[in-house]
Symmetry: C2
Subunit: 235 residues, 2 copies
Amino acid sequence: MTDLSANNPHGIVLVSGGMDSCVTAAIALNEGAAAFLHVDYSQRTEARERLAFHQIADYYKIPSFFRKVITLDYLRSICCSALTDDSIPVPKFEKLEEEGNGEIPITYVPFRNAHILCMAVSWAETIGARRIYIGAVAGDSAGYPDCRPEFYEAFNKLVEVGSKAGRSLKVAAPLIKMSKKEIVQKGRELNAPLHLTWSCYEQSEKACGRCDSCLRRLRAFQEAGVVDPIPYENI
Amino acid sequence: MTDLSANNPHGIVLVSGGMDSCVTAAIALNEGAAAFLHVDYSQRTEARERLAFHQIADYYKIPSFFRKVITLDYLRSICCSALTDDSIPVPKFEKLEEEGNGEIPITYVPFRNAHILCMAVSWAETIGARRIYIGAVAGDSAGYPDCRPEFYEAFNKLVEVGSKAGRSLKVAAPLIKMSKKEIVQKGRELNAPLHLTWSCYEQSEKACGRCDSCLRRLRAFQEAGVVDPIPYENI
């Protein structure tokens, strides 16, 4: 296990509180990462996500000085997205829509992952971390341009030329080529606390089970032949 | 002159309030840009810089809906720099130090320009702007890694692969290869309001005349054979 008292943690994990970031944290901790970063960008589910973040961090015994929550409230003031604007309803479906139609969904927050990675780079430069882990998934993400492998390649080039750390600091997206089913399997293999995660685009006692994010998650557990340990509203 | 009532301004200019961003604004307005973005990252001179920003925006008659100030206060909470931390004194010099020693100065704010450009990209995606102008200068900037031409090339690649706009949105750094002397000359040629700008790393009634930024500015005016129109403390 990582020496959490070390002054220079090997890496920073971006932990939203969802399933993908939880499994990414499990992978990162195996590789020696010690710091958890959560970003509040005024998403409508922030309170629920932040609870999940702290519960996952507690599970992994991350001390408070390696556990940071950053508020990025300006994104809400400059962008329109169903994830940050309460007046735009989150789309609900009976079943998953066809994938790969090339359209960018209304839940897209312009350039969000670039902002979040920039924060991680600034923090990494300050605490001397050498790796940033993000739970981006290309295949079955919903067409967000900042979830593609090319985006992370381009971001690493930016870090290489534009930071003090240069080539010694890298962004890793260990799930990028996995399917959601494989992520569930990896999480169980590593004993990741999937029961503490929150994926729903709404927040209440139970997940809605009908937004795009819930439907993808449910399908992944079903394909992996495992019962999703969190409670759902409509199931 | 630009049609400032247009719904989709052609471009966004990052206006800190310093000389370089003022000259960049003059160039950008000639090319049709209409929106001004200022970022408050809790730098110690923010109040003075913001005043300069509004005075320059007034000079160019930028309406309030194309004039945006974004607060990015988390940078102060995660980074150490003489520009954001009051406990670190800004270095003062009798004369300009040798350049090109390869060291990154204490005034470096880790990855600052990447954060600022990300905000501009998110705003550009929202208002449909196609160009982002930044007054970065490679040659006589003080060794900041995020002022190099390679940084802007890498950032444009990131925008291309990671934003909705893709290749139709570009970052332009029109001063990147200019000397400070040429910037003064360009500003005068375009009738830019250099008398409204603030470059000093401290803030008071008059510029200190002894920080790295003041010394570079003063030398530029001297080389251009022009009197700097702002008042200085020690001159």
